[in-house]
């Protein structure tokens, strides 16, 4: 079973040289720490930046330079700043190669819910609806079950949707799964020490198991 950093580390392996990547808030942000040596990646922040660097050294924070999570950040050499319309323009035109974001629920046909819980204060979808509707390649990073112990990989989402038929891959503390075009979570890898039976027991949506399922290499 992986911790949050483990999930981030596993997702980082999905990143290919030359990718432009948008990282959501939470676990996805951690992915930046595990990008393999020799892989050139440019991070897009949807508030208007390509080439996001690490947090600034203490005392060097610039209030005019933040990421989409409103954190103070830095830019790397070769970065570019642009306005919000262009930022979502490049997202919509699929220039961003990979989007990684968190979710409350994912369904076996690739629907995602991650912005609203009825009865609770709704903060808004931010850029999530734009990202999931536009990106060609989306990985969800999330826990396999919610705090009540219920599966977050479902036949259908129960919460209000963020987007439909858009999620291609899910990485949790237990497993890596892709979502097949015809529907269903196909188990690709299991976390070290986690059994296929256990993954079965916490996956409410259709789970497809083909042959031997290898352990993740993290």
């Amino acid at each position: 079973m992986l911790d949050k950093n483990g999930i981030a580390k596993r997702i980082a392996k999905e990143i290919k040289d030359g990718y432009y990547v948008n990282l959501g808030i939470g676990i996805p942000t951690l992915v930046a720490n595990y990008i393999p040596e020799g892989i050139n990646v440019v991070l897009q922040s949807e508030n208007g930046l390509l080439g996001m660097g690490p947090f600034p050294f203490e005392g060097e924070e610039d209030p005019d330079l933040i990421n989409a999570g409103k954190q103070t950040i830095t830019t790397l050499p070769g970065s570019a700043i642009f306005d919000s319309a262009m930022s979502f323009g490049m997202i919509r035109s699929q220039k961003v190669d990979l989007t990684i974001l968190g979710a409350m629920e994912v369904s076996e046909n690739g629907d995602i819910a991650n912005w609203k819980i009825p009865g609770k204060m709704v903060k808004g979808m931010g850029g999530a609806m734009d990202l999931v509707a536009s990106a060609k390649n989306i990985i969800v990073a999330m826990q396999h079950v919610n705090k009540a112990g219920e599966s977050k990989l479902l036949p259908e989402c129960t919460l209000p949707l963020t987007g439909i038929k858009c999620i291609k891959k899910v990485v949790t503390e237990l497993a890596v799964l892709d979502i097949l075009p015809e529907g269903g979570f196909r188990l690709l890898e299991r976390a070290p020490g986690v059994s296929v039976d256990y993954i079965k027991s916490v996956t409410a949506g259709k789970l497809i198991i083909e042959g031997e399922i290898p352990e993740m290499d993290v």
Binding site: F57, E61, D83, R92, M129
Partner: protein
């Protein structure tokens, strides 16, 4: 060149009236028109509809206007980090329309570019699509979203010249240029106001034609919402 300088925020916003629709630039607390917001609070104008990506925090930014109950409706993509906002929303005093961030930005741009509507896939299959026209292009569904119609756009730039040309700094650019294009009247506050000719024409982010009033602001606090650092 045409001179668009007004003396300060009070003068810039003097004809903003109760019930109007305002666009306010900024992302979180980054690049917000601090001086103009303070002037709006001082003026006490109310029943406003505010189009802004966020709603500030309790004691800064649009949060100051919320405290004085000047806002009837917020049109935003994300409105966390604000207890008074939450209270007014849950009590029904405040109306909120949540819009995907890219849709928000593009509806501003559409207004500035004279395009009455745009198509975006954001929100298809979600509650955002309710009541909207859906149209399929090349096998993919899109929502038709309408250009915004705002009485005033209020933006914050880094530098500006007296004819209204604006340059933004770093990610404080965000929604400011697209909103600057979109207001029937656009007010720009800048950290440094210069004479025509002092800004390189190739580096202007917002051409002066889009800006109706400009002034040099003062006492910028530029509050940081999430101070994150690393150790050396």
């Amino acid at each position: 060149m045409i001179n668009k300088v007004v003396s300060n925020a009070d003068e810039a916003i003097k004809d903003i009236e109760n019930g109007m629709t305002l666009m306010l630039g900024g992302f979180g607390l980054c690049g917000i028109p601090e001086n103009s917001i303070n002037a709006l609070v001082k003026k006490g104008v109310n029943n406003l509809t505010c189009i802004s990506n966020n709603a500030g925090v309790d004691d800064f930014g649009i949060g100051l206007m919320l405290q004085k109950r000047q806002v009837k409706k917020m049109i935003s993509s994300y409105v966390g980090e604000n207890a008074e906002f939450e209270r007014q929303l849950l009590s029904g005093e405040l109306e909120v329309e949540l819009i995907p961030q890219g849709t928000l930005a593009t509806r501003c741009m559409a207004a500035g570019y004279g395009m009455p509507a745009i198509f975006t896939p954001a929100g298809v299959g979600t509650e955002v699509a309710e009541g909207k026209e859906i149209r399929n292009f090349n096998g993919k569904d899109y929502l038709m979203e309408m250009a915004f119609d705002a009485d005033f756009a209020i933006v914050k730039a880094w530098k500006g010249d007296t004819s209204g040309n604006l340059i933004f700094r770093s990610t404080a650019r965000n929604f400011n240029p697209v909103m600057a294009m979109a207001g029937k009247i656009t007010i720009a506050e800048v950290e440094e106001l210069v004479e025509p000719g002092q800004l390189d024409p190739d580096q202007i982010h917002t051409p002066g034609i889009y800006v109706h009033r400009i002034f040099q602001g003062e006492n910028y606090e530029k509050r940081i919402e999430q101070r994150t650092v690393r150790t050396r």
